[in-house]
Amino acid sequence: MRGMLDFLNDSLFFYYLGSNLIYLVLLVVALLSSRAHHQHLASLRLERMKLSPLTPPITLIAPAHNEEGSIIPSVRSLLRIDYPELEVVVVNDGSKDRTLEKLANEYGLEPAHMLYIPHLATAAVRGIYRSGHEPRLIVVDKEAGGSKADAVNAGLNAATSPYTCVVDADSMLESDALLRVMVKILEDPKRVVAAGGIVRVLNGCELVGGKIRRVQLPKSPLVVIQVIEYLRAFLIGREAWARGNMLTIISGAFGVFRRDVVLSVGGFRAEAIGEDFDLVARIHRKMLEEKRAYSIVFMPDPVCWTEVPPTAKSLGRQRARWHKGLLDTLWPNRDMLFRRKYGRIGWLAFPYMWIFEFFAPVLEIVGLAAIALAAILGLLSRTFFIEFLVYGYLFAAMISVGAVLQEEVTYRRYNDWRDVARLILFCFLEQIPYRQMHLIWRLQGIWQYARGDVVWRPMERVGLESAAPRG
């Protein structure tokens, strides 16, 4: 028993040290990378890109399943996007509510005479409609395919542009988001096959007519913690991984993909739980197997605002699903681990995902059990334990403050100093009890996956127009 506890003590100590070291490296890389990106941004003339005939057309694909609460402001905001050649394909994925009816009433939908080639197999398409007064809008009405991926695949079939951007129907893109996300693609269209933007938390922001009038932090502590999580994930994690062309996730809420590349990997996997991660993993695999020069980039300035779960229950479901999705993609791609042909994805990115993302909750619970056992057996060094706890707490808080700093020196979306002060405060408060709740949710995800429970449960939403307090 003593021997086993000693082994766990050593292993977990180094595991924790390793993960903290990685976070520190990611933070430093992200700070440097974002500074360079910020300088580059200053030299851009988006207006010129908008007027340039070389700017390629984009099809925005917005899958909608029972989104009657948010569909109209969402589509309105998509159509308001400033991009020279834009097509918006809304896929009504067998909604049982009035989603299609609302769209038909608002946009005067009529049956469209358009080419629909089913490159990707999807649930049956019932009809394709075009707006009578907004020729850029196409609505694909299909039977429910049971997943967002199936709906997106139908959108990909209907899309007519060389680039497609998948957005959630309950999200809002900033008007210049597409122009900004296309910057890297325009720089090197042959090499860049996909680009992702940043997803920010919409809850709490002041909305008027489907547009954000004022960015502000929500009142709910649970949502503020999610704001910090998103800042950390995007401004540190993705920024740093993308720097080394090791980006493994482009958020399902906002990502631009070359359509031919997506079709060549078979589109989104309909049964995938985390379809965004799954697609990017398959793109990496294909490109590396075919030895093609490619890159998948992250742009921190194009913003997509999305509504996050406001309650612990829905957040728990979301996080369990994310963790299931992680395993659901990592497992089929396990053959990519430590193989020369998969380069840094096989040697760095995926091992990191396995060890520090997927196994993190398992090791955390094992660690807690070991501590309890050591205490029972009288082996616990109380002073060291407390020191270690303080170190863990402070280091995690430092990384979170680093994410707030990154936001502050670059994009400064939260202008009010009270919002910044609250963000900093919550960097210290998120460790207890949120971190423990998060641990449980992720363990639930693993348990559900092991039991074969992979049913997608919709998140409770209040709709874009009512997501925030007015006035």
Binding site: D6, N9, I117, A124, I128, P135, F388, A397, M398
Partner: protein, 460 residues
């Protein structure tokens, strides 16, 4: 997660876990204080700076004309840092916004006379780091020719950020001499910055004289050559003349695509012939650009190449060709020509684009009208054929979608057919129509009817 401080691995390297963790705590505390201090301090400083600047700006705006005319002497405000900053910022903003050459000259004279230009040049030369970067961009905004040598010197700085700032500054001058300095360094590989930054800068500086690019385009290689070709595509004018024609034979597909794009810009006498050739290029994106450029002319001369385009093996080329054809003045004629290709896929692409452009219903209505007012049987038969062709095209789309498409169109067509049946006896089927038209109508109409009757089901 660890419960004990006896970590053998750490001991092996001569470290003690407890001390290590204690140091890590100190590091984390220092990190937190540093980061939070930086955030709060930066906020405070920025706020104070902008407040002061806003105060100075209020004064400057109130007395702007007097300052500009020299009524308030530069000696009165030059020493006051905030006032000088506010005046510089305001002058540069006005220079940016102004399109009037006389006003620009007046503002530049003011900057020179007040000694502000000298000060900016000094800053751009002497300062270091981000201060120099800011000074370089600001210097470029003055558009003063004497600023160019300082900006060019900064292009040779080893720091990428300074190079980028110099490029931004040179772009703001918009001068040909700035373009030449950048081009020399790009071609020799001395200037390696993001392509979009270069593209913007070169486009601005070569807009008045795109010929500047040509010597560099001929000697450049690889990705640099592609960037220069893209700049040329955006800035092309008649000044490029026969050189564009030469470049249509270039070995790089990117260059050929850029030429195809450039030919849409100006009234080149040889544009049609060159674009016609490029529309048959082996690379799909060259054909795409050529077809897009041809579509912009909206002339019947472009029809043969566009008809080839609508039958292209690349979906994007077909779509662009269909889009161009749907915008041609005589949709009926275009439909006839597309049917003449015998390619049902082309017909579907055209129907889809007509629908997208809102022309589908108009064309159906126009064909009904001509059916009703047809002077002779041949003309009536042709209109009927075209209507049936549109119907077949749309039905084909419906079949591919596996949905009941064309509800509205079908109703209209049915009504039209009923009207026609009342007026005279109709052929029982399209095949009969084909036979009839072979006997009576010119061979062109027979071709149309055959296409409708035997529209081949081609795969995607």
């Amino acid at each position: 997660m660890a419960y004990g401080s006896d970590i053998p691995l750490l001991q092996a390297i001569g470290a003690e876990a407890a001390k290590f963790v204690f140091r890590a705590i100190i590091f984390s505390v220092a990190g937190i204080f540093g980061l939070v201090g930086f955030i709060l301090g930066r906020r405070k400083l920025r706020r104070r700076y902008f407040d002061r600047l806003a105060g100075a700006e209020f004064y400057v705006r109130q007395n702007w004309e007097r300052i500009l005319s020299g009524e308030i002497s530069a000696d009165d405000w030059r020493a006051a840092h905030d006032d000088a900053e506010a005046i510089t910022a305001l002058t540069l903003d006005r220079l940016d916004a102004s399109t009037d050459a006389r006003e620009c000259a007046k503002l530049l004279t003011f900057l020179r006379g007040a000694g502000l230009l000298d000060r900016m040049m000094l800053e751009a030369r002497r300062s270091r780091g981000w201060r120099r970067e800011v000074a370089l961009v600001r210097l470029g905004r003055t558009r003063a020719p004497e600023a160019v040598p300082i900006l060019v010197a900064a292009l040779d700085d080893p720091r990428g950020a300074t190079q980028l700032a110099a490029v931004r500054g040179l772009a703001r001058t918009g001068l040909a001499i700035a373009a030449e300095a950048m081009l020399e360094r790009i071609v020799t590989g001395e200037l390696a910055i993001e392509a979009t930054s270069l593209l913007n800068a070169l486009m601005i500086c070569t807009r008045d004289n795109p010929r500047l690019l040509l010597p560099y385009l001929y000697v450049a290689k690889g990705a640099v050559r592609e960037v220069l070709a893209r700049v040329m595509a955006e800035t092309a004018s008649l000044a490029l003349g026969d050189d564009l024609l030469l470049l249509t034979h270039d070995s790089s597909a990117e260059v050929r695509a850029s030429v195809a794009r450039a030919l849409a810009h100006a009234e080149f006498g040889f544009a049609f012939a060159a674009l016609d050739r490029l529309a048959s290029d082996p690379e799909w994106f060259v054909r795409l650009r050529a077809v897009t450029s041809l579509g912009k002319f909206r002339e019947a001369r472009a029809l043969p190449a566009l008809l080839r385009g609508i039958c292209d093996r690349s979906r994007h080329v077909r779509q662009r060709a269909a889009e161009a054809l749907s915008r041609m003045p005589n949709c009926g004629e275009v439909l006839r020509e597309v049917l003449g290709t015998g390619d049902s896929y082309a017909l579907q692409a055209l129907v889809a684009e007509l629908d997208r452009a809102g022309e589908f219903d108009n064309l159906v209505a126009a064909l009904h009208l001509s059916l009703d007012s047809a002077a002779d049987a041949a003309a009536g038969a042709e209109s009927r054929c075209l209507l049936r062709a549109l119907e077949a095209g749309a039905e084909k789309l419906g079949a591919m979608m596996r949905i009941p498409a064309l509800q509205k169109g079908e109703q209209q067509l049915e009504q039209a057919h009923e009207r026609a049946r009342e007026a005279k006896a109709q052929p029982a089927s399209v095949q009969e129509l084909a036979q009839k038209t072979t006997q009576r109508a010119p061979s062109r109409e027979h071709e149309i009817a055959s296409t409708v009757a035997h529209s081949p089901a081609r795969g995607a």
